[in-house]
């Protein structure tokens, strides 16, 4: 059996779901961010897999896309953590279920 696109896609799917679960279930804002990072990485993995196994035209643009995703993910983490810190400062907690900023 050769390892092909399906293997990577399945791996990406499982990883995405683990990340999704972490993002949904964790109390801590940093924990949620970790989950989101995992999801983004799963997507990246899928994209790179397509770049390797897909047609030659998409090969390059997917990789460029991945670079952009990594950059945006870094920006997201930076801003997300800063937000978490501000929330902590003002609310003394970064646990997401106790933070109800938008509630009344």
């Amino acid at each position: 059996m050769t390892i092909g696109l399906e293997h990577y896609l399945a791996l990406g799917a499982i990883l995405f779901c683990i990340g999704f679960f972490i993002a949904l279930s964790k109390k801590n804002a940093v924990g949620v961010l970790i989950g989101v990072e995992l999801m983004l990485n799963a997507v990246n993995l899928t994209l790179v897999a397509f770049s390797r196994f897909g047609s030659a035209e998409v090969a390059l643009s997917t990789q460029v896309f991945v670079v952009f995703i990594i950059a945006v993910a870094a920006a997201e983490v930076a801003v997300g953590l800063a937000l978490a810190l501000v929330v902590y400062r003002n609310r003394q907690t970064i646990s997401v279920d106790r933070t109800t900023l938008l509630k009344g």
């Binding site: 950059a71 870094a74 953590l81």
Partner: protein
């Protein structure tokens, strides 16, 4: 046979060696213990946290100063911006002047960010 993969395969072998190499003295040390040549006599005082000979006061894993976070923040964004510049630098041969202009604009924006941090005193450690 894929040349890139082979190169990284060599690095993978080196990685295995890199993990084994430092383990050798540790394993030797463990073997010495098994042969009874190395002492292992822990007691309450020995396995205490070292704080210059007195008991530690207060917790260690405290909430830390803010500066460290700011530094990491600036670093992350610089690092990410740099990953755009490396491919551009390699490709400069084929995209000559357009590439130069793009790079200059990019660096200018980067520099503006640095100036902003400077002005906001984010670079001051105190």
């Amino acid at each position: 046979m894929d040349n890139v993969l082979e190169q990284y395969g060599h690095l993978g072998i080196l990685l295995i060696f890199a993990a084994v190499f430092p383990s050798i003295p540790l394993v030797a040390s463990w073997a010495m213990f098994k042969f009874g040549l190395r002492p292992k006599l822990p007691n309450a005082v020995k396995s205490d946290t070292y704080e210059c000979g007195v008991e530690t006061e207060g917790p260690t894993w405290v909430q830390f100063n803010f500066r460290y976070y700011l530094v990491a923040l600036i670093f992350v964004l610089f690092d990410v911006e740099v990953i755009f510049l490396f491919p551009l630098a390699v490709a400069l041969d084929s995209v000559v002047v357009t590439g130069l202009v793009a790079a200059l604009i990019f660096i200018a924006v980067l520099f503006l960010g640095l100036v902003y941090e400077w002005r906001r005193q984010a670079l001051e450690w105190r």
